[in-house]
Symmetry: C2
Subunit: 612 residues, 2 copies
């Protein structure tokens, strides 16, 4: 398995039944200060490393996962925990990528942990094993990656505790990671999650068979304690809705209540099964150590309470994914990371997948999730030259005239009003496209103006389409989520034909000019003569080519005229740098939007704004 | 404590240290079919029963509560669990009400339960105690109430498991309950809640000191198991936010992590404390039995899956209260009960209290909660003649002319447009006032037209104000919550000056005419000449006396003209029974709203609609 890297301070141990195992020849110095003299890392690989060693995807597993990501698990006989995602032709395509997954340090599937024998004593480590952290786990993975001959990992990906490892990788080894996908994770374990872990630990240590951690030597097993710990944890992996859908109050193999303490309800029977099958495949002390590592994880605290500092100047491309019904690692946790990454600013995409399956969704075949991940990986692969084919976009040459304005006629696909906005943005600017849709404008700005562009979009499908093009787009609501961006993060913030559909146009404009030096805003003009005549003589709410929806279902809930808009800018102390009067197709009129003719004779307007 | 009732089949047992205890002389036949030959009910009372025995408030306690509602608890030395609510001059005022609370059957504070001695064997019941249900608990309370000489309880109130007892009372003894207040409860225990209970039971029964339930005889105590059960449960009583606010990731009596399994974090220390103090005051077997009783509770299943059937023709006045951050008994559970009660239809008020304190909020001094409860109790007391004073409202005589229309000039306080609506409603109608505010119109309709009125209102403060007048008002959003009402539940559904502020006016109208025979809708007319001229010649969005907000912050997001509205009615196959053209003050014009003059010359309009 060595890939031509010399001076490898490690040796491969052959354990065919349990896969690969690497014995590290250098001691592992832990975050706590303790040292493990001779640690081993058990791991699996899938696919083949290419000649430039650029196609490695490192998968990080969760609390009770292991290195058997795909294929058949050697001890349970079931498919690997991400078998739906990882394999030939799958989302993480082993025909193209070299996939690596290691059992975490402290685990119980071959890597050094409390269950393994301490060479110094000849006995199992038990509680003499030092407390480890997420950082320690990642440190061991780095040594594995070194051994495998990979200098830069194309993508580090993982869910739950795996997401913590992904963040640790991006934080501590930013130049060894091209892209990072933390799924259903957090930058720190919450008080509630610590509490749930503590309950699990108390259940284990309350079991007399735990024998103060020495059960392996005492030939006992704290089955009951570990089963209770697993049962409590298992509830947190599912949503209330999923439990209701799956079990409800249905009875187990009976038609009436037994008025006893048997498992009358299916959900009880299911939980007991979850608990008591778990003890066959997991080590109680490993459970203590790994839960502790999660509790200790706090990237903000490590950086003086400022999470953004953990990712300063990060070159890594991030894609955060959360699940709407996950209450163990809720979307708000992922959003906090997105906010910190925006503040750096790093390149970040984010999608909250609609799912009622709770935290467990990251292990299930959720098509929205898989498609989002696939889109991001393909987009990132295209940038790295790892994609099978990269279509027309990269083939079209950039064409700009002397003024820096792109030649509009070469790209007929861009909507005229978007072209208007694009023409106003200087090359190399930092741009936020609010309501960016599938990323058409951003892709255009990237390809033709070398713009450092970001997008915000409400529709999950459109975000996915944009992310698939390698664009950093965040799923979010423009009325609430502009607050995620820091002051002056962008040169231009673009809002096209959407201001009139917001609940708080004033607040949106405020926010745009907080996060951007300039704002480009376009909207339909309610002052156009056609609108006025329709109201005056029609006696009905106007419908025009620009305002075609009926009064009762129009998305335009805060319409204004050009004069109203200019008034509001004045009141808000916003300076109008340019005002373009446009016709219904977005073509520029001969007069400016600030001209007295504009309010009556232009169907729409586009303004470039800045703070006075 | 006997209140002049003869033939009492029960005797009071004197146990001064532990309060009152009633020995039932008749056997208790349980829901399971089992019988307890000689059961006892331990209870406390506060205040004095009045001569008509009409001032009794029965308080039902939760899983780990007991009969010591107020004052000092005899064993813990702490204030009773609702000491903030119950007492002289408090929300449940013991100067005016006779408050009763009984330890539940199966409990461990004196009522018959697994900890007590089985007279037949002379040993503690332990697991030979029969499994009991919420119905059994309530049955025992009924015998207590009989003994106390109370025929009809003024109010049954309780939170969590207490709410289940309240619902059981209202379901099974509707004529012995005037009002019922289920707080933070449900009509059935959810799959997730059964799962959490099962974890607790597994933790207890996994403890070897539990001795198969025989620990009292074996002189052992399953402390560790019960503590783990309590810890797991305790997490569910708090919200993630409350845990974060209270503890966050703060360390306990140390400045750095210890890299060990001590309670490094405050939240761990707190949980351990909660667990290990609980075992001093609670019996492990009681925990098993009471959790089981909750799991078994399902009022819908008992009524062939139709919850509404449990409350058919119920004369009880209900007030449901939930807390926004309660995830153990979330608002959706209370809403399901509200929906069922609406379907009956019963008189129901509902408020979701904004709180970040989770399920525990019902035990805490949440002022919004206390004020809501106080409002409801005062409103109900006024109806029963229990209020200290009932002001002007009841003193004004009803005055209607021959046509059934009320004399508008006698009540100057009602807004003219509300008076317009009130005049259209025949006496004795069933009316839903959508967006009812503080209930002004409903109170008017009730006092002067004997209307059976209900209200729906978004603002918690206004709902509270309405509920305080004894009006059944539900906190909710008119765009989503009209679906809670069944087809044809009302003769009239009134929506005053709000249609234009909804997101889906069409859907709202559809819903109004689904739940009501007729709808009364009023709105400002965008077709008025003043509006038209402002648009035509002003070049700005119109502001008029009727439409006074600026374009960027107007709540009116779907304005229409009278003609637009008439068009929509035609399209929706809605028949206009009456259309009133009104001026800006709501005074009726000489022409109808369907007259050609109306669209240009009336500031607003009011329509009476019905389905074709």
């Amino acid at each position: 398995m060595a890939h031509g890297v010399t001076n490898q301070p490690a040796t491969e141990i052959k354990e065919p039944a349990l896969g690969h195992k690497l014995a590290l020849s250098e001691p592992l110095v832990l975050q706590s200060g303790a040292t493990i003299e001779s640690a081993s890392v058990a791991y699996q690989t899938y696919g083949t490393l290419n000649t430039t060693a650029s196609n490695c995807i490192l998968v990080c597993h969760a609390l009770t996962g292991d290195q058997y990501v795909a294929g058949m698990h050697p001890t349970t006989g079931k498919p690997g925990w991400w078998d739906g995602l990882v394999g030939a032709g799958k989302v993480i395509d082993t025909n193209r990528f070299f996939v690596v997954c290691a059992n975490v340090l402290g685990g119980c599937m071959g890597s050094t942990g409390p269950k393994e024998t301490n060479p110094a004593t000849g006995q199992s480590w038990g509680l003499t094993f030092p407390v480890i952290t997420i950082r320690d786990m990642v440190q061991a993975q780095v040594k594995l990656i070194d051994y495998l001959g990979v200098d830069k990992v194309f993508c580090v990906v993982g869910g739950s505790m795996g997401a913590m490892q992904v963040l640790e990788w991006a934080h501590r080894y930013p130049h060894r990671v091209f892209s990072a996908v933390p799924i259903a994770g957090s930058y720190r374990h919450s008080a509630q999650n610590i509490a749930f872990h503590e309950v699990g630990r108390q259940a284990i240590t309350a079991d007399p068979d735990w024998s103060h951690g020495n059960y392996l030597e005492e030939k006992s097993t704290p089955k009951r304690g570990l089963a209770v710990a697993r049962m409590a944890a298992h509830i947190t992996y599912m949503s209330e809705k999923a439990l209701h859908r799956k079990f409800g109050r249905r009875l187990q193999d009976r038609v009436t209540l037994t008025y006893g303490f048997d498992a009358d309800f299916q959900v009880e029977s299911y939980l007991r099964h979850q608990g008591y099958t778990f003890v066959d495949r997991f080590d109680a002390n490993s459970y203590l150590y790994i839960t502790r590592a999660m509790d200790y994880f706090d990237l903000a605290q490590e950086n003086n309470g400022v999470l953004a500092a953990a990712f300063k100047d990060s070159p890594v491309r991030f894609c955060l994914i959360s699940f709407s019904s996950d209450w163990l690692f809720p979307t708000s946790e992922s959003r906090a990371i997105v906010r910190a990454l925006n503040a750096v600013p790093a390149k970040v995409s984010f999608v909250e997948v609609e799912s009622d399956k709770g935290h467990d969704a990251f292990l299930l075949d959720e098509s929205e999730f898989h498609q989002t991940l696939q889109g991001f990986i393909e987009g990132a692969a295209a940038i790295c030259g790892l994609a099978a084919d990269r279509s027309a976009v990269t083939m079209s040459a950039e064409r700009t005239d002397a003024s820096g304005r792109a030649d509009t006629f070469a790209r007929p696909r861009l909507r005229i009003d978007l072209q208007q906005a694009a023409d106003l943005v200087p090359s190399g600017s930092r741009v936020l496209d609010v309501g960016c849709g599938d990323g058409t404008l951003l892709a255009h700005l990237k390809d033709f103006k070398q713009v450092d562009g970001r997008g915000l979009e409400l529709s999950m499908g459109k975000v996915r389409a944009a992310v698939s093009q390698g664009l950093p787009v965040i799923q979010g609501n423009l009325e609430t989520d502009l607050s995620d961006y820091p002051v002056g993060a962008f040169d231009y913030v673009i809002l096209s034909q959407t201001l009139q559909a917001t609940h708080s146009p004033r607040k949106v404009m405020d926010e745009m000019l907080r996060v951007g030096q300039r704002a480009i805003v376009s909207f339909p003009n309610f002052g156009h003569w056609r609108v006025r005549l329709a109201v005056m003589y029609g006696g009905r709410m106007p419908t025009t080519p620009m305002l075609s929806d009926a009064w009762f279902n129009t998305p335009n809930i805060h319409l204004c005229t050009i004069l109203d808009f200019i008034d509001l800018c004045r009141e808000m102390q916003i300076r109008i740098e340019h005002g373009f009067a446009l016709d219904a197709l977005g073509r520029q009129r001969r007069f400016a939007a600030t001209n007295t003719l504009a309010n009556a004779f232009s169907e729409q307007a586009l303004f470039v704004l800045t703070r006075v």
